[in-house]
Amino acid sequence: MNNFDQIKNALQRIRHLNDLPDEIQQRIAASATLRHFDTGQIIYVEGEPAESIYILEAGWVKATRMTREGREQAMMFLRPVEMFGDIAVFTGTTYPGTVVALEAVDVWIIPAKTILDLIPRYPTFAAAVIRHLGERVLHYISLVEDLSLRSVEARLANTLLRNAELHEGQLIVPRHEWTTFDEMAVRLGTVRDVLGRALKTLEAEGLLRVQKQAIILLDPKGLEERGSL
């Protein structure tokens, strides 16, 4: 598969960007470069000028932001295929978070100028970008609501339900290598000890069971109720 076919394939798997005219895809492909990152490598750091937009082709990444108090807060976990780094490019600011490869990752890097030049010329592309950004706004509204209004147990219940997979008749959340307790704590905006207590509480209530390879959701309905508290 050549560069054009590869990035076209990636664009077609991104919600809202999957029906862009060939000409736009061609322009994006012409300027895009594919780069590999190993586990733990930094794709960009917060406070760095936003010079590129990224399309995640393979592997998981996380976006975090350091609080004023020096605590890492997860903003987003992304899996392929997804676009990131766009908010800072469109607002002309620095990247608001740091993006780290959680496993072996392939990323398309597209110069910001390519995207910014396309927007005024192609209203269909602009509309697609607006829809994508709108979804990001909704994500952050949800994150603010979670962090400010919900308990750690409720956040944990919601996060587990959002990431659950049906496996041999059981609803489970697989424990990827990078899904350590520390990572989960960052994701939930808390610390490891509090997360450990929350897991124990939910386990004691019969809502879930923590295993080495997975967290088994024994009572999804009960977890949903806990998530709304």
């Binding site: 733990g40 930094i42 750091v45 406070g47 760095e48 350091m66 004023r68 020096g70 620095t94 608001p96």
Partner: protein, 102 residues
């Protein structure tokens, strides 16, 4: 309030000073490091050959006026990975440009 394009915000100025400090030191001048600054916290990334150089980059950033802390994510043999710990040099202040960076 939107930050004017002609007025560099404090973090941009801080980032420039950190880059200058790294460029002026012979241990870090030739390195290709990524540098960010947000809310007075410096963020460093990239790859270097030794822990000593990694530590040197952090020390240089910490010495820059206005830096409240350094998140050192520079890769080096034997370095913690991923490093997310930060030692704040000064406590957080309320009056800054946080909203404008979101």
């Amino acid at each position: 309030m939107m930050m004017s394009e002609t007025t560099p915000n404090p973090d941009e100025q801080l980032r420039t000073r950190i880059i200058q400090a790294l460029m002026l030191d012979e241990r870090t001048a030739a390195l290709d490091l990524r540098v960010g600054a947000l809310n007075g916290i410096a963020h460093l990334a990239g790859t270097v050959a030794s822990l000593d150089v990694r530590d040197a980059a952090q020390e240089l950033a910490e010495c820059v006026r206005g830096v409240r802390g350094v998140v050192n994510r520079i890769e080096a043999p034997g370095a913690p990975s991923p490093s997310r710990n930060i030692r704040l040099l000064f406590p957080p202040v309320q009056e800054d440009n946080d909203m404008e960076n979101k």
